[in-house]
Point group: C2
Chain length 157, copies 2
């Protein structure tokens, strides 16, 4: 099987959107899901996705096999650091199909994202990862990412 990566076509963005929204929902805690109404939430997050992804500074790259089946994607766009006032490349989402993992596809997608960031002349690339997701953290560390800041949360209810 040959794996290739390329910029996503408009029609493929619909699949990316569906997978991305499903992943966001699944990452929520039980408390968060209990407080949300899934239908209006899905509509709102879908509109947010559409609004973000079509920005000039945003790119979606996909990985596919010989049969043009979608194996994974990375969504990169411009983020900004309110403290420094500078912009950077921000990984909004990265995904590899369950049965396609541990084949280096995520690495290939990250390379596409990095190439785009260098071309755009960002000095930094950022991403956010769950503190509990150590396998992902290890992969990112292998690619040169360093843990910087973490969010801590307290439930008040």
């Amino acid at each position: 099987m040959t794996i290739s990566t390329r910029r996503a076509k408009a029609a493929e963005i619909a699949s990316v959107k569906e997978i991305s929204i499903k992943a966001v929902w699944e990452r929520f805690s039980d408390e968060q899901r209990r407080e949300l109404d899934k239908e209006p939430w899905s509509r709102r997050i879908g509109e947010l996705f559409d609004m973000m992804v079509k920005k000039e500074s945003h790119r979606v790259f996909i990985a596919e096999d010989d049969n043009q089946a979608l194996l994974g994607y990375v969504w990169i766009g411009e983020g900004s650091n309110p403290m420094t006032g500078t912009n950077h490349g921000y990984i909004y989402d990265i995904f590899v199909k369950e049965e396609q993992r541990r084949k280096g596809i995520g690495m290939r997608l990250m390379e596409e994202a990095e190439r785009y960031c260098r071309k755009t002349e960002y000095h930094e690339m950022l991403l956010m990862v769950a503190v509990t997701n150590q396998p992902a953290q290890k992969l990112y560390a292998k690619q040169g990412f360093k843990a910087e800041q973490m969010y801590m949360l307290k439930r008040l209810t």
Copy 2:
């Protein structure tokens, strides 16, 4: 020495601003400082501080001793989670003077912030802390905060 906490008066916000901006600058990496011009940066961040702190949902509480000397402060305001679409209390800054640390002042300030969040009916309180700042993380954990998400960064230059 009796330590008391209360909402900051308008005149005290100027001291808070000065300390807060100095702390932001000191937390930057050498690379970040090299890329920034300190004078225009200070002006911009000062304007950002003024704009944020005067919002209806923002509060600054200070700790003081019998002589009304400023020992520390906490700045809390509304944050929002773009994924859930819900608002929460966000600790923009918390500070205790070097020589006043390990006396429970930070804890008292966090209690003020939490009281404000409960009154405002936020279901969550969030803060951000450097991954390397383990003493602060331990204090926050003691107060019921749990690490959630972390930023990882790669320099491209």
